[in-house]
């Protein structure tokens, strides 16, 4: 019987597979990395306030994944060593959606790193019984070491849910210092100088475009353009109008916003200025924001506006420094006196009030953690913690960001799209900005669309 023979072979195969399965169950996949040097010699005296947490564990859920997750995991080492607690880290690209699935199903993580205050508000609204107020120890750290504004970002209706964690400065224009010095270009200090410089670049180099840009980012396509809009809002309308706009006290399509978007359009929607080495204006919509800066290295464009974290996007071995291959200058204000700075950041939100969770949240707000994190990360991370040791920041762009962020003269504003309700800030605003680029709808019409989509109270 041929079929019988086949079935026996199939059986043998299944058996073989089963053995593999068993072997797989037996083999443990333990790959705990050796602790970084910086974390091994830590003074445990600072940790006595947290008490003995031996055998306790805290789960952390974040949107930060490999390779940026390892510095985070390493930064917990002093806490784990000194208190005896273990921290279980989990990162996912689908964090925003999955966090709400877990909350809904009833198995939330102990602590989540949430990059959007708007999402904290949504969660506080939907799961008021699960979300925890920031622990007292962490609150006093935040009051001591952070600008008051950070407490406001993490609060919903006066209740403080999200303690600040990392930060990044967004008002930067990436450029090539070598290309600038070869051509004799100066770094602009006002918006007008920036436009003059751009025109000069066009005149000097008829073959290449001065700016490059890209707003493609998978399902989040459009967000880099929202940063443009916010940066221009801060410059043309000022911080007060910006606050009103974010809080929806003025309509989303207020004339001031239209002006700001048109200001961004002066560069982004000008075929003479964009899109260096990548195509015309439409190509901005299809270029990944991560790839948008590469033409700077190839000499196909001179400038690209993107946050400080873009330093991680450059291919390995790129010299990121003031006189190196690439660096960033501060996107200037309308005058030299004004220096508005658009920032982003993450917040830690706790979903459990066990002592170890509270202690862990407090640890993350302490200067000790910021110091350790700066060391485990190397280049590419800052915090707004004024107690941290700024000398630990090795990358010049991080130093520049930190100095701007903690400078009294800087008018710091949080990324508006992250503060708005998620339906707008992570939804219609993104699609509207994409439509604004390609097919190129007018500023008025796309802003009116967003205004219409604002959730009613």
């Amino acid at each position: 019987m041929p079929s019988r023979k086949i079935s026996r072979r199939l059986l043998a195969m299944t058996a073989g597979m089963a053995t593999v399965t068993l072997a797989a169950c037996g083999g443990s996949s333990d790959d705990s990395d050796p602790m970084a040097d910086v974390t091994s010699n830590v003074d445990c005296a600072d940790f006595e306030e947290y008490g003995d947490l031996d055998g306790k564990s805290v789960s952390v859920y974040t949107s930060i994944i490999s390779p940026e997750d390892q510095p985070h995991i390493d930064s917990y080492a002093p806490f784990e060593t000194c208190t005896g607690a273990t921290v279980e880290y989990e990162g996912s690209r689908d964090f925003e959606a999955q966090l709400q699935v877990r909350l809904q199903a009833g198995n939330p993580p102990d602590v989540a790193y949430i990059p959007q205050p708007g999402l904290i508000a949504t969660i506080a609204d939907s799961y008021p019984d699960v979300i925890q107020e920031v622990s007292p120890a962490a609150q006093s750290n935040v009051d001591e070491f952070y600008n008051e504004a950070w407490r406001t970002y993490g609060s919903v209706d006066e209740t403080f849910y999200g303690a600040p964690l990392g930060a990044n400065a967004k008002s930067f224009v990436w450029y090539s210092p070598t290309a600038f010095s070869d051509a004799g270009y100066e770094i602009p200090t006002t918006l007008d100088e920036l436009y003059t410089l751009t025109d000069q670049m066009v005149a000097d180099n008829p073959d290449i475009k001065p700016w490059c840009a890209g707003i493609e980012s998978g399902t989040a396509t459009g967000w880099p353009a929202t940063d443009w809009l916010e940066d221009m809002m801060l410059r043309t309308a000022g911080a007060d109008v910006y606050d009103q706009w974010v809080a929806h006290e003025i309509p989303f399509d207020d004339p001031a916003v239209v002006t700001a978007l048109d200001e961004a359009g002066k560069i982004l929607k000008n075929d003479a200025y964009v899109n260096g080495g990548l195509g015309g204006v439409e190509s901005i919509a299809s270029t990944s924001f991560g790839d948008a800066g590469y033409p700077i290295q190839d000499g196909n464009c001179f400038m690209m506006r993107q946050a400080s974290f873009y330093q991680a996007q450059w291919p390995e071995g790129t010299d990121v420094s003031e006189d190196g291959e690439v660096f960033a200058f501060y996107l200037p204000g309308e005058t030299t006196e004004e220096s508005p700075l658009l920032v982003g950041g993450e917040f830690t939100v706790a979903f459990a009030d066990r002592p170890e969770v509270q202690a862990f949240q407090a640890y993350l707000t302490s200067p000790e953690w910021s110091d350790v994190k700066a060391q485990t990360t190397g280049a590419g991370w800052i915090s707004a913690n004024s107690g941290m040791d700024a000398d630990l920041l090795v990358s010049p762009i991080d130093r520049l960001s930190y100095d701007l962020l903690t400078d009294e003269a800087t008018e710091v504003r949080f990324d508006g799209s992250d503060l708005m309700p998620a339906a707008v800030g992570a939804g219609t605003l993104w699609t509207a900005m994409t439509k604004w680029i390609a097919p190129g709808d007018s500023s008025e019409s796309v802003l009116a669309e967003v205004e219409a989509s604002w959730p009613s109270e």
Binding site: T21, C25, E68, G218, Y294, P315, E316
Partner: protein, 314 residues
């Protein structure tokens, strides 16, 4: 009985027109006729040319992915894979970064295997028993139940995800492998029962009756008469289910706890928080493809036979 008919297809064909043989005889000869028709139709040079063009069109993206996976990061990010042929630059850095990087790819590979095999075996085992009952056992409400099972296929699995996870959390099993095995089984069963039931109905009633006359019970009929005949059907469904579970992202994303994450999740996360490392995706995808490819090539004989067996139902 089935052996004689399969071993002598030509005589069965000849008989079919002359003598009105037993019903299964006619059916088999019709099947033969059809395959002969198909053969003549498909061997025309036009059809072959068309199939060839389709095959190339279908394979080009995969081929592009394959070429991309061996190119250095800078080349991937600045120009298309087709430029490889004018300026070939080969590098294993992507594979090295995927296999030896921060991501525990070997562990994820084992997780995928450990998730997939029971998630294939459990639904097939249950579906075989259920299909047998629906096909060959008379009980009250059989038709109603069968229609109910059939109707379950219409329910999109997405609406069940959160309620199911809530249940798992209540039962306290939400960090075990069982949630993955159970979920995959639950979602696979309606289609599995339906398909296997149809295959079983294809088996001539007289065969079962003959076995019954010889004194065989349900157990004996199931194991000694039906099971050998069902091997192609089981294998083809097993391939389907295997590929589905192996490539599943949604269920793993919803249910898998941190230490049980399969390959698909790890690959999804390879690109990094801000998508800066996407050059690794092609290499990751190829590593994940090896096993399904081997399974498909190894079992494709069953696959085609299983599909044909389902095709002549009626």
């Amino acid at each position: 009985m089935s052996e004689t008919s399969t071993s002598k297809p030509t005589s069965a064909l000849a008989d079919a027109d002359a003598v009105a043989g037993p019903s299964e005889m006619r059916k088999l000869s019709r099947k033969e006729q059809r395959s002969i028709d198909a053969k003549t139709r498909l061997t025309s040079p036009w059809a072959s040319g068309f199939a060839l063009v389709l095959a190339i069109l279908w394979s080009v993206p995969t081929f592009g992915l394959f070429v991309t996976s061996f190119r250095p990061e800078r080349a991937i990010k600045t120009e298309g894979w087709w430029t490889f042929f004018t300026a070939p630059e080969v590098s294993l850095e992507n594979y090295d970064a995927v296999l030896n990087g921060n991501t525990d790819f070997a562990g994820a590979f084992l997780n995928t295997v450990v998730i997939t095999i029971p998630a294939v075996v459990i639904p097939i085992t249950l579906a075989l028993l259920a299909a047998y009952a629906f096909a060959w056992m008379d009980f009250k409400g059989r038709n109603f139940l069968f229609v109910a099972v059939f109707a379950l296929q219409v329910v999109p699995i997405q609406i069940a995800l959160i309620p199911l996870l809530t249940q798992y959390v209540n039962f306290g099993i939400d960090s075990s492998l069982w949630v993955l095995w159970l979920s995959h089984s639950i979602f696979a069963l309606p289609l599995a029962i339906f398909l296997l039931h149809n295959f079983m109905m294809d088996i001539p009633r007289s065969l079962i009756e003959a076995a019954r006359v010889d004194g065989a019970g349900h157990v004996k009929i199931f194991f000694q008469v039906l099971l050998p005949l069902l091997v192609p059907a089981i294998a083809s469904f097993a391939i389907f289910q295997f590929l589905w579970v192996w490539n599943d992202l949604l269920i793993a994303l919803t249910f898998a706890s941190t230490d049980l994450q399969p390959l698909t999740l790890k690959i999804g996360n390879l690109a990094g928080s801000r998508g800066s490392e996407w050059q690794l995706l092609s290499a990751g995808a190829f590593i994940a493809m090896i096993v399904p490819l081997a399974v498909f090539l190894g079992l494709q004989r069953f696959f085609v036979r299983g599909l044909l067996a389902g095709g002549v139902k009626g």
